[in-house]
């Protein structure tokens, strides 16, 4: 797939490029159907000068026009679990489901992750942009962490100016309403050419080529033990420096310490915690906030024993969750 001496990048490599033109082209084509992909790819890309803009128009169009089919997702998860130890049935289901997915994509413009990744890849191929589908594990707050035994998510890697980049069109397109489970479009730009270090917190590729990390690759256990991060983390964070694990055993009067790098400068008032002891969540201010440029050093001291879910918020956006078990001294 890719050689050893490749360079990996992130969106800041293109800070000199304004994606407004690409985005407005994508928006102007929102009535296009999927019946003629070569034509769609051409329309999206023909008036743009650089590959990154061409790719942006394709990616943005897919994110804004393809809805996530939650019922299909649930059906597939159930079947995959049921057949996971029967390779014949598992394979037969995958074939059948693939046909269901493509039919739905074409007729109703609804899909699940691999459908997004497939469309981004196919439209990119047609525009001579080197793009791959990455299969792997995606970990979010509602994932049953104990059951993460089969790949459950797909995203893309794209080669622009000889560097590989990561993006996640499915998660960028929107999220289901937690009450109704109905999908709602809400474009999140944080999943476009994301810093691979942030991406690695909740994306585990089956093919290790696609970590695109220069430093050590996490083990699967480390991945399962990482903090839960949310879509809004991608909006606000460059990466999570510390800690690498979600759970912390501490003693009374000890602290949970967080270090993270943000994209835009923040004030102390932009930060708060929601601490849930299992009975009543409480909004609290951090014991200590230290802002050095783009780096935040946060610390919170626990004075009562108990087991806490600790949620970090930036500007009222939920960013990350840690669990803290405070022992009696």
């Amino acid at each position: 797939m890719i050689g050893q001496s490749h360079f990996y990048g992130q969106v800041s490599d293109f800070s000199h490029i304004d994606f407004k033109k690409a985005d407005s082209i994508a928006l102007s084509l929102s009535s296009e159907r999927l019946t003629n992909l070569p034509e769609l790819s051409l329309k999206l890309t023909e008036h743009l000068d650089t590959d990154v803009e061409r790719f942006r128009a394709i990616y943005r169009w897919v994110c804004d026009n393809i809805a996530n089919d939650y019922s299909l997702y649930l059906k597939n998860s159930r079947k995959r679990q049921r057949y996971k130890d029967d390779s014949l049935k598992f394979k037969a289901w995958n074939t059948k489901f693939r046909q269901i997915i493509f039919k739905n994509l074409l007729k109703r413009e609804r899909t699940i992750c691999t459908g997004y990744a497939y469309l981004v890849k196919t439209l990119s191929d047609l525009a001579n942009i080197d793009c791959e589908i990455v299969q792997g594990y995606g970990r979010v707050s509602t994932t049953n962490i104990d059951k993460l035994n089969l790949p459950n998510h797909s995203w893309n890697a794209v080669k622009l100016n000889d560097k590989w980049y990561l993006c996640d069109p499915t998660w960028a397109s929107g999220i289901p309403n937690p009450e109704t489970n109905r999908f709602k479009f809400a474009y999140n730009n944080g999943f476009f050419l994301t810093n691979p270090k942030l991406f690695a917190v909740n994306h585990f590729p089956v093919d290790s080529t696609w970590w695109l990390l220069n430093d050590t690759i996490p083990t699967f256990d480390q991945f399962l033990g990482a903090p839960v991060i949310y879509g809004n983390a991608y909006k606000h964070l460059e990466f999570v420096d510390q800690p690498k694990q979600m759970h912390h055993d501490i003693k009374k009067h000890q602290s949970l310490n967080l270090v993270m790098t943000v994209k835009a400068n923040l004030n102390k008032e932009d930060l708060h915690l929601l601490i849930d002891n299992g009975i009543e969540p409480k909004k609290v201010n951090l014991s200590s906030i230290n802002i050095e440029g783009k780096q935040l050093k946060l610390s919170h001291t626990f004075d009562k024993f108990g087991f806490y879910d600790v949620h970090l918020y930036i500007k009222n956006d939920l960013i990350a969750t840690y669990t803290v078990d405070v022992a009696q001294n």
Binding site: E39, T111, T114, W171
Partner: protein, 152 residues
């Protein structure tokens, strides 16, 4: 270059002399040059008698998958907007005349895109598309706060 000139101007005997004097690399370049001169001659000969436009022709075709003909398949000329979709019977007639060396891109959602190069004798394109063999999976992102499982 000097070697080739010598050959062109002199007799066969002279040629052998030159060849034996020079290294094998020179021999090779000499041969290459001769071949080049020959092909150049024939190429010029061809353009004189046979212009590229004369082999333009109507291309028809049939696109199917393992279960039979496929309708709504896109057939497009590579590098152009010109194209057509297959009818109910999986058939198409390309709207412009094509010539040898033109490339058709055949694509349909869920199938591998195929390229077909129009050969010297091509008038009918028959292709069987293969499904894109990807495993369909999908997890959704969620904004619901994580909740630890508690024993109480």
């Amino acid at each position: 270059m000097t070697v080739s000139l010598a050959v062109n101007k002199n007799t066969g005997i002279m040629k052998t002399q030159v060849l034996t004097q020079k290294s094998s690399i020179s021999t090779l370049s000499l041969l290459t040059l001769l071949i080049l001169l020959f092909t150049l001659n024939t190429a010029i000969g061809q353009t004189n008698t046979d212009t590229p436009t004369t082999n333009e022709r109507v291309i028809k075709g049939l696109i199917s998958d393992e279960n039979g003909p496929l309708k709504d398949v896109n057939v497009r000329k590579k590098g152009s907007r010109n194209g057509v979709v297959t009818n109910e019977k999986g058939e198409f007639t390309f709207p412009e005349k094509l010539k040898t060396g033109d490339v058709l891109l055949i694509s349909f959602i869920g199938f591998e895109t195929q390229e077909y190069i129009i050969g010297a004798e091509t008038t009918f394109v028959s292709l069987v598309l293969t499904e894109a063999m990807i495993e369909m999976i999908g997890a959704l992102d969620a904004n619901t706060p994580y909740r630890s499982k508690r024993k109480n």
